[in-house]
Amino acid sequence: MNHAGMAVRACRAALVALCCPAALTLSVALSGCDRVENNPHPSGSEKTNTMFVPFSQRSPKYLDPTSSYSNDETPFTYQVYEPPYGYHYLKRPYELIGRTAEAIARPRYLDKDGKDLPDDTPGDQIAETVFDIRIKPGIMFAPHPALAKNAQGEYVYHAMKREDVADKHKITDFPATGTRELTADDYVYAIRRLATPRIKSPSFSTMAEYIVGLKEYGEAIVETDKAMRRDMAPTDRDLPFLDFRKYPFAGAEALDKHTLRVRVKGKYPQFKYWLAMTFFSPIPWEAEKFYAQPGMAEKNLTLNYWPVGTGPYMLTEYVENRRHVLERNPNFHGETYPCEGEPGDKEKGYLADCGKPIPFADKVVFDIEKEGVPLQAKFLQGYYDSPAIERLDYGTSYIVAMGDDAKKDKEFKEKGIRLPTTIEANNWYLGFNWLDPVVGKGNTPEQAERNRKLRQALSIAIDWEEHIAIFERGQGVAAQGPLPPSLFGYRSDGPSAFNPVVYRKGPDGKPVRRSLDEAKKLLAEAGFPDGRDAVTGKPLVLNFDYLSAASPGTKAVLDWYTKQFAKIGVQLEVRATDYNRFQDKMAKGSVQIFFGGWLADYPDAENFLFMLYGPNAKALTGGNGENSANYQNPEFDRLYGQMKFLEDGPEKQKLVDQLIEIVQNDAVWSFGYFPTSAAAYQQWISNGKPTQIVRNHISYLRLDPELRARKLAEWNQPIWWPIPLILLALVGAILPAWFAWRRRERETAARTLATTGAAT
């Protein structure tokens, strides 16, 4: 084999090496111009009327309506269950409407003898309020095996033995399903079930104070349950069916098939908001009986994982920590998209689908996405229709990112990503513990006055406008008081919009923060001139108990707080622990200054002001109360006691104004800010109005699958050319080695040939 032959063979090899990857690339490229390779969903699914959204961390823990209370559970519970009331999707301030109820029931007031009282009777004279709620007739449950009946009218799955359940792991493993009409008894059952000792209902302690007889009923049910389980070990998972139909109580009853009566102690105007929460979802007794059979609990076949409801969707797939699927309920009684909203809705296009039947989407698929970076990447690729269907913080972080980075701004705008904003009923504040001797109430009137001046000085020094500018990139509004703008009680010309302690009116009438000199003056009057104790000369050191462990992410904000206090000469020590320890400290009342926040349960001023009501003090209620600052002010408590009975109106407004003035003067909170919330939707999702109060909003979202498929193909064209290049590079690296090997193999032979050839 001479050199020429070797060269030819080498060239041939190189050509083959080159052609293969090229051919591969060509074939793939030609196989389809609109074929995307990086779709994490089944191919073709983007053309169907299915919404794809992620859920983070892990699967929702409680889908049982009695115990569900967490934000991440609401996309499932509020689409599957229907409490009597709901909120109008578009109107602001939020307005309650009937969901299964025909209308919002007018409360009837009774005195202690059961006689009707006029509507304007003062709240403390009312002994009982009666709500008679008419349920719409003809509402059917979604098909479910618990309701399945055979030809003889007997329940198919109510007499199962352990072996029958052995091979079943999900609700779709039961082939037969059935349905029946929703009745008022289902609501009564659910209200009784709030008292169950087997699950902890977060609403029970509050409801036990208000619903007539619920507290005693709870105690009785505990005994009944104990008797039932007397011979069972506490670790037994198959508990006998606790049939609440057998145990009535006075507070909730069904007057007829479609009328629910609930009796509430005294006057509690906010009760109507509770009727919009899933605690009051109807529960069919058949579902409880079905799930209480032997072997069901250990297969996770319980109401906690497989809800049974009348809502627009039903849960058909539950793969833990992987995927959940909501599908259209074929038996849904039907609702239509609203035709009115708030001013500006028409221009934003929110009224375009007026009168159309909802829900629009046939299916909603929730996939787990544990890390934030892949989540955002997939959202930008178009594979998720929204980064979080139940939260408004992603949208805000995207707006912030767009402000920081021109490239991101361009990308978001080109992809037509919608980021509608709103200021929700959500606040963040810095609280001073009333029980603390230095920043709290103070034991004597003189001490109280000094402490108050200290708090006021600190309130002036903490520059929340700067905080918003740095850490929220301008997405927020500094709070003047405890009430956020979207609630009744907030007046833009009242004390809720202007805090005279911390601000003064500027030349254009807008609040301007008071100067540091004024803060220093107040500090001196408090007994700490220049941050040193006037008597002992010791520097004033205050403790900031932060709610999570210090990490690189929180360093910047903790440094900022230290700087704010240092502006008037006060030293701030940060005590950061993990959240469990923080909660312990709060429950014991051993914090000095803390950072807290609140997301409204319902749109009523009472839901914010109750955090300053004396009896709700956290340290006095074993950590259960929401008055984290343990604030005690008899005048506040007195006025609050009056305010909480009133329906929205001028009288309530007056009291709210007075309450706000009291807390502004006492400066028990440095009022912090109300963050801007923004939803994030792709351009093919319509009607996405941002909201944290309306939780059954998924039914109102309409998606355009054609547009989505087109955009996905446009945004995700695969780029193949680097692959053959990489292969080529590998071949190029190996080629010299191959030559060297061939040369070495032939070396001996070549040498021998050379010598013998020379010899012959």
Binding site: V36, E37, N38, N39, P40, H41, P42, S43, R58, K61, S67, Y69, S70, H169, K200, P202, P234, T235, R237, A297, E298, K299, N300, N304, V319, E320, N321, R322, D367, I368, E369, K370, E371, V373, P374, A377, K378, Q381, Y383, N580, Q583, G622, G623, N624, N716, Q717, P718, I719, W720, P722, I723, P736, A737, A740, W741, R744, E745
Partner: protein, 325 residues
């Protein structure tokens, strides 16, 4: 050999008990059952009653290791340690602390873990052996130098970096594979392509250097010189003779790892959203779910012990001179 195996299995059981005890001690030094209850119940529901109830339902209200109040043998048996550990040896894992059935989850998740682990393992072995043999073949040339440099370079970079860069390059920029996710059927290949490649590349450096050392040791021996003087070509010498003799140390590292493939790669599964046993374990650690953690540790230890026993048996197959007794 049978005696040997029985002895090893006996030691294995003792090791498992020890591992169980150790995990137990570690876990409960950091957490008390109260902490676990609080974490599990979460949020506003946490009252002392709820915590007590949670503990009673799961048997956590008993003492940890020694129950002084009970008579006789119950001092040992009426404790959290005994109750929760004995079931494990019967492979009855029971319910996790959040109430889900562990055995069922294990069976569901083994599939995806294996689907990722086996191709990574097999292809990885193949690539690593070829790479290290090539380095040995081309020893004392520029190829060996650059090969070793490349191996050291690959070894020095963290696995996480490969994952992040791989996702950025192939999923985000080139849009060739999905960023993460999983599904059954033919789509499997698309989801696993990138994790398998990254799995191989991240291990390539360290293992190639290790194998190269083994091979170089063999290459210096007499029988190799004999083979060469007989006129055998270099690749026959390497692939047929050196490889077989260098097999023992290689076997140690690979056969022992075989059963652990079932456990999955924790980080890979997390980042690529593969619902395997690895991500199950990480979720349980984050949620402080002791029931799941101890089950996974038990399963892992048992598999590791099985793997080591298999390794010993494979020695007798690879090298007839070895006898186990």
């Amino acid at each position: 050999m049978i005696n040997y195996l029985i002895r090893r299995v006996g030691y294995g059981i003792l090791i498992l008990i020890g591992v169980n005890l150790f995990t137990f001690m570690l876990f409960f030094t950091v957490n008390t059952p109260d902490d676990m209850a609080r974490m599990n119940i979460g949020g506003k529901r946490v009252t002392q009653d709820a915590i007590e109830k949670w503990k009673v339902e799961r048997g956590y209200n008993k003492p940890l290791l020694w129950n002084a109040e009970k008579p006789g043998l119950q001092k040992l048996t009426d404790t959290i340690f005994y109750e929760r550990s004995v079931q494990l040896f019967a492979f009855r894992f029971g319910a996790s602390d959040s109430g889900r059935d562990i055995g069922y989850e294990l069976r569901q998740r083994v599939g995806p873990s294996i689907a990722l682990a086996i191709p990574t393992f097999l292809l990885g072995i193949f690539v690593v052996i070829v790479f290290s043999l090539l380095m040995v073949f081309f020893r004392n040339t520029y190829l060996e130098f650059w090969g070793v440099t490349l191996a050291v370079f690959l070894l020095s970079i963290s696995g996480l970096f490969y994952i992040i860069v791989g996702q950025f390059l192939f999923s985000k920029t080139l849009k060739l594979v999905p960023i993460s996710g999983f599904s059954g059927g033919w789509d499997l290949f698309v989801f696993l392509a990138l994790p398998i490649v990254i799995g191989i590349v991240s291990r390539l450096g360290g293992e190639a250097l290790f194998y190269r050392t083994m091979f170089l040791e063999e290459v210096g021996k007499d029988y190799v010189r004999t083979a060469r003087s007989k006129g055998l070509s270099e690749n026959v010498v390497l692939f047929r003779h050196v490889l077989r003799n260098a097999l023992l140390p290689i076997l140690t590292s690979t056969v022992a790892v075989l059963p652990l493939l079932f456990l999955g790669a924790l980080i890979m599964e997390s980042f690529f959203g593969i619902p395997g046993l690895g991500s199950y374990t990480i979720d349980a650690i984050n949620a402080q779910d002791f029931a799941v953690v101890r089950s996974m540790v038990f399963v892992g230890s048992a598999l590791y012990i099985v793997g080591l026993i298999l390794t010993d048996i494979s020695y007798t197959v690879a090298d007839p001179r070895i006898r186990l007794s």
